[in-house]
């Protein structure tokens, strides 16, 4: 049973809690297929999306998830809020708490920002992505999609390829998949691989984590290939000579996909840079589940909001 006030990361969740979130999401998928896509479950609850970084799918997905559960959803983006007048993150969060928000979804460029807020607010804090730390709902929707296709989360070979250094998605997925006993292969150019990559998980799960710079080694017999976007906006210096060279060495092409298992699925958290990390015919091809991930995102976020916004912690 999920007893946390907040969802800050995958690292602090148990396998049982993850399974509970995914099972609940399974039931919530049906709501999105109804003629009237709404249930009254979270009537009278207020969910605030507090986004300090650009986002299309995460913010929209949380907004749709909240609305399908009848919560009132308010969106705040940093550029149009008092943040641009110099208000600190903590003051902004306290202000929202004073308005009796029940849940605040936070995206911030600094790792640990949601955790700071969680200690200061009565509202549940959901991490919508913090710096290069974690993006828990992305890993949960990835796991949901993998479980739907592969019917399991253990004993899989998952290749995560691309800009590992800047990727919170990679970190959350590493935590989740190794917890279930799947082998994760992190693969990128040496300049985009954190030095301590092998130590991302504790010693109990380190046997499941592998680091390589060879794309062929990562893809060979993989059940799942997860491509990551090259995050140009986080790069203050040059990490590779040119986009064309990057694509030649690290881009996912049809020829490379053929080295994976015949029933491989190809994932991408979006947004996609076509022709940088993934070829267009692969992104739109038969192995791609990129749009299934987006659909799963709504169900998983409904599940997270439902499980966090129970009354545990309140007095009655």
């Amino acid at each position: 049973m999920l007893t946390h006030k907040d969802l800050l990361g995958i690292a602090t969740l148990s396998r049982e809690e993850i399974v509970e979130i995914l099972d609940t999401a399974d039931s919530f998928q049906e709501v999105s297929s109804r003629p009237i896509k709404k249930v009254p479950t979270l009537r009278g609850k207020t969910v605030i999306n507090l986004f300090f970084e650009a986002s299309t799918r995460t913010r929209t997905s949380f907004e749709i998830a909240g609305k399908r559960l009848s919560a009132d959803v308010v969106n705040i983006s940093a550029s149009t809020s008092s943040v641009s007048k110099g208000e600190t993150l903590i003051d902004t969060a306290r202000t929202l708490d004073a308005m009796a928000a029940d849940c605040v979804v936070v995206r911030h460029a600094s790792s640990g920002a949601p955790k700071t807020l969680a200690g200061l607010t009565k509202a549940s804090i959901v991490n919508g992505g913090d710096g290069a730390h974690e993006h828990p709902t992305q890993a949960l929707l990835d796991a949901f999609t993998i479980r739907q296709r592969k019917k399991r989360l253990n004993d899989l070979k998952v290749a995560i390829i691309g800009d590992i250094a800047h990727s919170r998605v990679a970190r959350s997925n590493v935590h989740l998949l190794t917890k279930f006993g799947s082998h994760v292969w992190l693969c990128s150019a040496p300049t985009l691989m954190p030095v301590e990559a092998k130590n991302l998980v504790g010693p109990e799960n380190s046997q499941y984590l592998h680091v390589t710079h060879s794309m062929d080694e990562a893809i060979k017999d993989a059940d799942v290939i997860m491509m990551l976007r090259v995050q140009f906006e986080r790069m203050s210096e040059s990490f590779f000579p040119s986009v064309r060279e990057y694509f030649r060495y690290w881009g996912l092409t049809r020829q490379r996909v053929e080295k994976a298992k015949p029933d491989v699925i190809i994932m991408h958290p979006g947004p996609i840079n076509r022709g940088v990390e993934i070829a267009t015919d692969v992104a739109d091809g038969p192995y791609s589940v990129i749009l299934d991930q987006v659909t799963a995102g709504v169900a998983v976020r409904m599940s997270v909001l439902y499980l966090l916004l129970g009354s545990h912690g309140s007095t009655d």
Binding site: D26, E30, P35, I36, V39, G310, S311
Partner: protein, 181 residues
């Protein structure tokens, strides 16, 4: 909390014959109509399946089945300690203009049925909604009554009626249990 057995209300054979009798009554009251049997999680679901096979044996046509989880429509979600487990809802898309038989094991306060009615109404406009229950134990808190009742009994409010079905519990039986003071 452990419950103390007060008495056994029905044996296995009585459970099955009651379900068959209910199916017959539903069929009689809905002659020439298209009924959809919708079971409420959890024990309404196997009840609906068994009633459907009785109806199929009598009419040579299989009635449509649905399952309903009412947790998203509960009126006490802000009061329960932990969020209840949400199970799958699966209502046939053709439910409009059909006669829906809602099926549950025990009718008590009526609040589950209130939630089920709200849930069903989100799927369309049915020709009618009727209610079939195994046990009506009284103590209603809402103006809701069943159309088809297996057995009506008087209970005290510290008693619990436990309907056991072999699909879920491994046996068919109905017990009246008592909560210790």
């Amino acid at each position: 909390m452990t419950l103390k057995l007060s008495y056994q209300l029905m044996k296995s054979t009585e459970v099955q014959s009651t379900l068959e009798r209910l199916a017959g009554e539903i069929l009689k009251a809905n002659a020439d109509r298209q009924v959809v049997l919708v079971g409420i999680h959890r024990r309404g679901v196997p009840m609906a399946q068994r009633m459907a096979s009785t109806i199929a044996a009598m009419t040579q046509t299989e009635p449509q089945l649905g399952v309903l989880d009412i947790n998203l429509y509960r009126d006490d979600l802000t009061r329960v300690a932990f969020q209840p487990v949400v199970r799958r809802t699966d209502v046939p898309p053709t439910i409009d203009d059909h006669d829906v038989i809602l099926i549950d094991d025990v009718l008590y306060t009526g609040r589950t049925i209130r939630a089920a009615l709200d849930a069903l109404c989100d799927f369309g406009r049915m020709r009618s909604i009727q209610l079939a229950v195994m046990i009506d134990r009284g103590h209603r808190e809402l103006p809701i009554e069943a159309n088809f009742i297996g057995k009506k009994i008087a209970t005290k409010s510290n008693e619990v009626v436990e309907v056991k079905l072999r699909e879920i519990d491994g046996e068919d039986a109905i017990y009246v249990m008592e909560k210790p003071d």
